[in-house]
């Protein structure tokens, strides 16, 4: 049973560019959340998707957008990259019906470096 997978593993971009990160949830999970983790910090919630719609959003600008596909996989898009966007981007999945009772399962992350 594959866990949460993310691609690519590493990415280097320059300021002003756009980037797309991808996530496939754990089998049986229908909800995907994205987090940004700056070096030495805890993960910060970006947004959550289920039923192909953004359901919750953290304190991130509109440059951050996402999508969820019918197979529950998800993309995170970041436009007009800034140096401060350099971070580890984590995708987490969970089964929505389990509610609070289950922990979110995190993927290995995508390390984004903006030069």
């Amino acid at each position: 049973d594959a866990g949460v997978t993310q691609s690519p593993t590493h990415l280097i971009k320059t300021r002003g560019q756009q980037v797309t990160l991808r996530c496939s949830p754990k089998s049986g999970h229908d909800t995907v959340s994205w987090y940004q983790q700056a070096l030495g910090q805890g993960p910060q919630f970006i947004f959550q998707y289920y039923e192909e719609e953004e359901r919750q959003r953290g304190n991130f600008p509109d440059r951050f957008s996402g999508h969820q596909f019918p197979n529950y996989s998800s993309e995170l898009n970041v436009n007009a990259l800034l140096l401060g966007d350099s971070a580890l981007y984590l995708c987490a999945s969970s089964p929505r019906l389990a509610g609070w009772k289950r922990a979110q399962y995190f993927g290995p992350g995508t390390r984004l470096t903006v030069l």
Binding site: Q41, G42, F45, R55, A92, R96, R102, A103, Q104
Partner: protein
């Protein structure tokens, strides 16, 4: 708005010693989650605490939750080098998706 605070942020221990990591949160909640992160790796779920007085143990780690004090503890017994990692506690801010984490406790266990 929920805030989660951990202390200490850095912890250097000798093998064989015991220590406790503390996690305080600012709003009423009856759940708390502990994760482990190894350097350059993702977060691994350790414990899910879902009620006041909940206690869970795995190996040398034991987590507990006091919802009245808004406090969770992660107790390390007879530390070994393999426990060296960063430990995060987290709680849901307002919805199922909005998991808010503390800054993490970086644990280093030395021989």
């Amino acid at each position: 708005e929920l805030k989660v605070e951990q202390n200490p942020l850095f912890l250097s221990m000798q093998e064989g010693k015991n220590y406790t990591i503390y996690c305080n949160y600012s709003t009423t909640s009856d759940r708390l989650y502990w994760y482990r992160q190894d350097p350059g790796k993702s977060l691994e779920s350790l414990f899910v605490l879902l009620s006041n007085g909940a206690v869970k143990q795995e190996g040398r780690l034991m987590a507990s939750l006091d919802t009245k004090a808004r406090l969770s503890t992660l107790h390390i017994t007879a530390a070994v080098h393999d426990l060296s990692a960063t430990y995060f506690c987290g709680n849901y801010g307002g919805s199922q998706g909005n998991l808010i984490f503390g800054k993490g406790t970086k644990l280093s266990v030395k021989p």
